[in-house]
Chain length 312, copies 2
Amino acid sequence: MNLPLLHDLQLAAERIRPYVHRTPVLTSSSINRILGAEFFFKCENFQKVGAFKFRGATNAVLSLPKEDLLHGVGTHSSGNHAAALALAAKAAGVPAYIVMPDNAPEIKKVAVAGYGAQITFCEPTLAARESTMARVQEETGCIFIHPYNRFEIIAGQGTAALELLEDVPDLDIIMAPVGGGGLLSGTAIAARGIKPDIKVWAGEPQNADDAFKSFYSGQIVPSVNPQTIADGLLTSLGTLTFQAIRENVDAILLCPEHMIREAQRMIIERMKILIEPSSAVPVGALMSGPEKHWKGKKIGIILSGGNTQLNL
Amino acid sequence: MNLPLLHDLQLAAERIRPYVHRTPVLTSSSINRILGAEFFFKCENFQKVGAFKFRGATNAVLSLPKEDLLHGVGTHSSGNHAAALALAAKAAGVPAYIVMPDNAPEIKKVAVAGYGAQITFCEPTLAARESTMARVQEETGCIFIHPYNRFEIIAGQGTAALELLEDVPDLDIIMAPVGGGGLLSGTAIAARGIKPDIKVWAGEPQNADDAFKSFYSGQIVPSVNPQTIADGLLTSLGTLTFQAIRENVDAILLCPEHMIREAQRMIIERMKILIEPSSAVPVGALMSGPEKHWKGKKIGIILSGGNTQLNL
């Protein structure tokens, strides 16, 4: 299968520019002091729909030939990809069909419906999601957009790293969290393409360590019912993202569950920005890892999203 | 007593520029849609020490003659002013003496100590704070810096509004929360000076409505043991802030307690930024008030700070 190259990411950046936010890169002198390195946070929590997912979804929709878009686009998801695809379709003026498990959080249902998508609810199992999706596709003729294992999705997600490296060209290390691997693949292709000697690292929850196992064993090891508060990182690698990660990533670091909360709290309290638990995993992995090669380095972190509920 | 004029605020802005952050002005299309007006949020939650208070404290310290600074500066406070004065003194290389009630939150004690200030604890009553402060002044010779009822403090706090109006010159309305009135006084002097026809409104917790009562009765009515989650707005107006507010403010709007939380939650969830309850009071007052003259207008809001503890 074809992986996108740097050039494809650059084309994606041009294509989606009128629709996405160029998010800021923020720094925190207190976090730098606490951790002993220089951090640059790419704030995709400020992206439309509150997550980087809007980049890939927009690129996927805009890359489809007009005639394919006639019957709309669809996906099954309970999370940020559903909202992202719904809004991307709305911006392009095409229908979106979202299959959601009926136990999805109320806030997600409202968000997706608010973007004008047509929702079909199903039992909360992967089998039910896939069979319901197949039926919706049959009925509507919509194009299925996979949340991560797709050329245009990977290319779109990589545009966040392109912008980060434009703003801070001399990073030593770039890190993203890894779930299905769309963001990590795009980040790695962007970073390697622009700065071949950069280190590309991933952070993964210890309780959902399928990418870690896959990366170090050389074959895809799927997650089985992972239990983590990093609800954006529950999915397993796809064939395409596995290939991109094998070819372009240097290391996957695991983050114990309690360090996800600790890193999330530190970032929220020190930087006064809201991030979801998944976004905190790279920093949590650095904080908890035994090796501290990264001390004193310039480290870019993709803060993947800000969709989390608070107890105020 | 002398109130600062626009020119004094502009001098303060020059004076503090090397020390303070120029905070961003953020907008949210979803909040604009929900409320039906165009909002511009001046993000003082991103200011050093997490609140606008650092502007006034820095201006106060830098305005003192060198010989007065020899014995340092001091204040009694359990909140943001203590941290702000401690850091401003540290930046200027002079000692800071902070009197804090012994029941102050641990996080505040740690922050103030972290900036190198010398803390004296006392009973949590105003009488104990004032007598302890008097003793510390006698022992050290430090200069007492009042948290709001002081020319240089008001001038410093007004620099946030100067920046906001530089970024968005055509605001119809500008709003700040009101506690002791330092921020509101500075905001009003800045806005009136730059744009005489702008409306200057304040938001105040209904449960701490001393400024409302003072403004509409024409004489200072102190707060008596107010109970509100807006912990930055518990203090009563001073003579100087009362005068500035009478001369330059158009209206004070009250915010019921439950609307403080609702507005805080909306801003945090929609904008992905962390604000303390006090910062949400102006928006909460707009949302709950019976009059909706502000619909369709351009409204600038000073988000005063982001120091709040979260239950993650």
